[in-house]
Point group: C2
Chain length 347, copies 2
């Protein structure tokens, strides 16, 4: 077990753990003594019908989406019980670096988006006793989980807002995952996943961060020197102060576990591999949210899936932050996303 | 000297050499006994006023653009004398791997786009006796050379067609160059540039190739499985049969020399760093050609520069091949580009 201080209550709390026990995975493997880390904002009402599920993106934790929650915001904890489950393998939940024994590090089993959703359902139904969700939402890999929810449990999901993500990982996105994973693995310190020190893979994490920087914001963001708006004096300072700083405290194998999950994300399996039929299963009122100039989940990819969802709209949010508009670093991005949640929740 | 059989007459000929002698570089350094490799199609007429200069992109050679030249095509060798100068450091001209002594490999001096253009001007004026060019064109790094020509020698360039490239390397493009250069350098066999065997850096070249695959064609290309049109049965087969196969025979240091040149490309220096004033120097009738869905030289970047060129038009060519439309692998891409050359040459 590697004691990485990044993945702690101190950095990402408060959060709780739900014990999944020996958890059956889609691959047939068992994740031993699995723990699902989750954060809760607000209280579940007596009818247990005021819950919102907010799933988490690649490299993120429940903490990173917290700014969307607050009094007067669309996700108001006075009104809703907002539950943010961390990904299995995401660092806080059971992950390669925080498990002991044969499943540690390279022994960590294959996890899928479907496994995350199955674990979340167990938490919601068995621990909370929830049978209906007012909204399921999530960004990027969170959108993959949102689609999996809406397709797999159509009767539980009243509204859905997959943000800048797809129900089935596209070929180009799979290539993107390969390129950034390989950038990380190129660090000799990664050592085939068998590193023994926390923060061994600084070089690989920096390389991965640069690939995210390349595709994460749009070209216009850089050409218009928008880093100034984020408080950075130069592009190099933004690379270091934002992208490198974001990834460098993380665990390499946790990121690679999430990357594999991202690449294999495919909710079409619930309709025998037919994506169109899978999307037609969705009963939720759905806002498919895309970010204009998103380079790894382009609007076109979101639109392609949205058109098969019966009760849906495509909402395109303009931002030079591209895929990373969701971080809400620019006030107008936050406002546009919050307004969209507001509109969906009042429909 | 590494005897790389890829950079030979057998693979890329016929081409000739022009001896530049000890060639003064913009950096102040001298490139010892420099050789400029160039190909010629057609004959220079007696008035020496039928010449077209076609400059070469990153990783390319004069051979790679040959398909645009032929009887009945816009670049007709019956009518024009078409000269294709290979980049310094491009593999055929003097390059890190084919020079002996102190300038070999890591001792290779810094070369700029301006140096290539100065070498080309020497060839055109001193060897051929040319004072006016009917057209200067080039793709990507070739567009950088085209801009440098039109801005630096406005009276020599009658028409210009910079294709999917910019007069000044953008911030995002510079980041792109860093990411693919770092992918190459991550190969331990690169050894800080001090490899001693031809084809040492297979792993790094494969990583670089994957970054090109990621950004080279647009996401829609992959999602619509357009690799089938290029004769590949799967995305993986296209990665191997096209992208890896393209880069793997090349010399790592030659590519890195070109990459540094790409990143530092900046014709604004002819107007004291003022890009707008530099572009206003251009007298040529100019078609700025952009490829729709080009992910590393987006239409917006081309349009930004085009609007400051007095006698110019922006031509946007749609193709799912994105930046790599120029290879003319799809017949419609070739036809659109050829038609554009035709239109410009008849104006």
């Amino acid at each position: 077990m590697l004691n990485n201080k990044y993945y702690t209550q101190d950095q990402h709390g408060p959060y709780e753990f739900y014990a999944l026990g020996d958890f059956q995975l889609e691959s047939g493997e068992i994740l031993n003594n699995a723990q699902l880390a989750f954060a809760v904002h607000g209280k579940l009402n007596e009818a247990k019908d005021n819950a919102i599920l907010f799933t988490i993106m690649f490299s993120g934790t429940s903490k990173n989406m917290e700014h969307y929650i607050g009094a007067g915001k669309a996700l108001d904890p006075e009104k809703y019980c907002i539950i943010l489950p961390n990904q299995l393998g995401g660092g806080l939940s059971t992950s390669p670096h925080n498990i002991d024994g044969s499943q540690a590090m390279t022994g960590f089993p294959n996890i899928s988006i479907a496994d995350d959703v199955a674990a979340q359902r167990k938490l919601l139904t068995e621990y909370f006793g929830i049978q209906e969700l007012q909204l399921v939402t999530g960004w990027s890999m969170g959108a993959q989980q949102t689609y999996e929810w809406a397709i797999r449990y159509p009767d539980m999901v009243k509204r859905a807002a997959p943000i800048a993500g797809t129900a089935k990982c596209t070929s180009h996105d799979a290539l993107y995952v390969d390129v950034f994973s390989d950038a990380l693995k190129s660090d000799p310190a990664w050592n085939g996943g068998n590193y023994t020190e926390v923060h061994s893979c600084k070089l690989g994490l920096k390389r991965l961060a640069n690939v995210f920087a390349l595709m994460g914001c749009c070209t216009e963001f850089y050409n218009k020197e928008q880093w100034v708006k984020l408080g950075f004096g130069s592009m190099q300072k933004m690379l270091e102060g934002f992208w490198h700083a974001w990834f460098q405290p993380m665990d390499a194998n946790a990121l690679l576990t999430q990357a594999k999950k991202w690449k294999s994300g495919d909710s079409s399996k619930h309709a025998g591999g037919d994506l169109v039929q899978a999307l037609k299963r969705i009963k939720a009122k759905t806002y498919v949210i895309a970010f204009e100039q998103d380079m790894f989940v382009p609007v076109k990819d979101c639109k392609y899936e949205q058109k098969y969802i019966a009760n849906s709209e495509l909402i395109v949010i303009p931002s030079l932050m591209g895929h990373f508009a969701m971080l809400g670093l620019l006030e107008e991005d936050f406002a546009a996303i919050n307004d969209t949640f507001m509109s969906l929740l009042s429909s």
